[in-house]
């Protein structure tokens, strides 16, 4: 069964077209991540799905029903916002139970669901506190709890972790993954952090300028990008691009090679001058110039390389991606 289906969805704000012809299917229980650079329309797409913005044209189908005319509260969705957006005048319990009260659920049901959710998220000690008395991580958990108690058919997360510090982000990421396993509900998750995208997603949707660039599982996108944008967007450090002319004179394509697929070799095709070295312990990232082109090489283990040194790098032909002038992948 499909939990969500978008058919030719467009969205304009006046003259500006923010979303162009989006088509997407989310299966029951799937974890889908929207990634893309800032301003590409991820949040707008999420708000269209939630019903907070109307699509200019196209159809939004949730759980086999066209919901274009359905208000957000009746769509069977729950949303977690980047800024938590807790109700400041209600305590944790009040925040979590408000939607159910609005929905006229019996008291016993409300109490039971709030209790279950707060147990899942370890919120029990804070249940009577107000949002201003909670830390950032606790607030985010309350926001997630507020979504859980509604038992939605679809969860929407808009960059839920971007206001948390690095350690907390990792913990909460794991918590969200656990939550998905426990609940088995479809989730849509917006981020521009590609680690979050790679680790959480069943399916990644890469957006740029309001258009879908590619849809696929994390490894599919990583191994088989359809264009230069997707290839450069996923992976860290990101893929190196240089003109194929550097390797074969007269070739006007662009070659892409991932930093980890470049290696030191005396007969390498790339003659590079090292400009910067980052020692990470397990890896060494070497930034070097080949003519005017900067490349990044990720060497495994610890290498002691001096800045200004001249090195030769090579790569295996099967690790090279070729792109045409418009950035489309050539196979």
């Amino acid at each position: 069964m499909t939990a969500l289906k978008l058919t030719n969805v467009n969205k304009s704000f006046g003259e500006v077209q923010v979303l162009q012809d989006i088509n997407l299917e989310v299966e029951e229980g799937e974890f889908v991540v929207f990634v893309g650079p800032s301003g590409c329309g991820k949040s707008t797409l999420l708000r269209v799905i939630a019903g907070l913005e109307d699509a200019t044209s196209g159809e939004v189908t949730i759980d086999e029903q066209v919901v274009n005319q359905t208000p957000p509260s009746k769509r069977g969705i729950a949303m977690v916002f980047q800024t938590y957006a807790l109700y400041p005048h209600l305590n944790v319990r009040g925040n979590m139970s408000l939607a159910l009260k609005q929905d006229k659920q019996p008291k016993a049901v409300i109490e039971e669901r709030v209790a279950t959710a707060s147990r899942m998220l370890n919120l029990e000690p804070y249940i009577d506190r107000y949002p201003s008395e909670l830390s950032g991580g606790q607030r985010q958990r309350v926001a997630i709890g507020r979504a859980i108690v509604r038992e939605p058919k679809l969860f929407l997360f808009d960059e839920p972790l971007s206001n948390l510090d690095a350690a907390l982000r990792m913990n909460t990421r794991i918590e969200i993954a656990n939550l998905h396993r426990q609940l088995g509900t479809s989730m849509i998750y917006v981020t521009h952090d590609q680690t979050e995208a790679m680790t959480l997603a069943d399916k990644i949707v890469v957006l740029r300028h309001g258009q879908v660039e590619q849809i696929g599982s994390p490894m599919e996108l990583y191994n088989n990008p359809t264009n230069q944008f997707v290839a450069g967007f996923l992976g860290s450090p990101s893929m190196n691009f240089f003109p194929a002319g550097l390797v074969h004179a007269g070739d006007d394509r662009t070659i892409g090679v991932r930093p980890e697929n470049l290696y030191l070799t005396d007969d390498g095709v790339l003659d590079a001058e090292v400009s910067h070295v980052e020692q990470l312990g397990a890896d060494t990232n070497v930034v070097a110039q080949v003519d005017d082109h900067q490349i990044t090489v990720r060497l495994f283990g610890q290498h002691f390389i001096e800045e200004g040194q001249n090195l030769r790098f090579g790569f295996k032909p099967e690790n090279a991606y070729h792109f045409d002038r418009d950035g489309l992948r050539l196979r």
Binding site: A50, P72, M79, A85, Y87, P88, L98
Partner: protein
């Protein structure tokens, strides 16, 4: 919270300046108060002296109580001020929310139109207003005053409040929409409490001019039963003789209600300022 520079000289200088300002601001009020308790001769002989057993007299207050319906005037002023503030805040906030929150045709134009009222004094339209009030039979009712003051206060209220409402987090309103709150609930329960400091500012700005206004009560509601305090006190000011005892006593009593209202609003103001600072 971060600690401000706590140089004792700075603090002392700051407090000194503030105390000085307070003294200057309170001095006229103080003079009015002490003189309202003095006999007429003493007021002119030593205006700055405190009332003593010789000069002490309640004659002013007695005159005020005897003369006319002082309590009725009082009540009229109170009704007009409080009702006007209520409507200014209610309609001002609603209009501001619509302008800040919803995209509709003519949104910007409407905002400009409403802001225009800030620049054009309402008294220019006095004749037209009077004609309208006569036509609708509202002359010599408190409603005439309430309507005029509401109209007078709305432009600035809309202007200030819409600026603040734009700053209320979109996510919060959207969370409410997803949880099934109606637009009215979102407005009254989520947005209004967050702009409370701005509302208090608007209330304080509007309160004093309304309370002190003489122009519109004189023109629109001069009847005995609708006189406001300011208008009622005028009976003691004659062209040739002025009953200073009565005027000073009336003024002293007129200060009280404004003071009480101000204390109520300013508490909101201060709470707003500190809650905004410690984010």
């Amino acid at each position: 919270m971060h600690k401000a520079r706590t140089n004792p000289f700075n603090t002392m200088g700051m407090h000194g300046a503030l105390i000085l300002y307070t003294l200057i601001a309170l001095f006229p009020v103080f003079v009015i108060l002490i003189n309202s308790f003095k006999a007429r001769k003493a007021i002119f002989r030593e205006p700055l002296a405190l009332p003593d057993s010789d000069s002490f007299s309640l004659i002013g207050y007695q005159t005020v109580m005897r003369q006319g319906d002082f309590f009725l005037y009082f009540q009229n002023s109170m009704i007009v001020t409080v009702a006007s503030l209520f409507f200014i805040l209610l309609f001002g906030a609603m209009a501001a929310y619509a302008l800040a929150e919803y995209r509709f045709k003519g949104n910007l134009l409407m905002g400009l139109y409403l802001a225009l009222g800030i620049m054009i004094p309402i008294r220019i339209g006095t004749v037209a207003i009077l004609e309208m009030m006569v036509a609708t039979g509202l002359v010599n009712t408190l409603w005439a005053l309430i309507l005029v003051y509401t109209a007078q206060g709305l432009p600035l209220a809309v202007f200030i409040l819409s600026e603040f409402m734009r700053q209320v987090s979109d996510d919060l309103k959207n969370a409410g929409r997803i949880d099934g709150l109606s637009e009215y609930t979102i407005f009254f329960r989520l947005v209004l409490p967050l702009v409370r400091p701005a509302m208090a500012t608007v209330a304080v700005f509007n309160m004093i001019p309304i309370w002190n206004d003489l122009w519109f009560p004189l023109i629109l509601a001069p009847a005995e039963k609708t006189k406001t305090l300011t208008l009622g006190s005028q009976v003691f000011i004659g062209q040739f003789v002025t009953d200073w005892n009565a005027v000073l006593s009336a003024l002293s009593m007129a200060i009280l209600p404004v003071l009480i209202l101000y204390v109520i609003f300013s508490r909101q103001l201060i709470r707003g300022i500190t809650s905004g600072a410690v984010k």
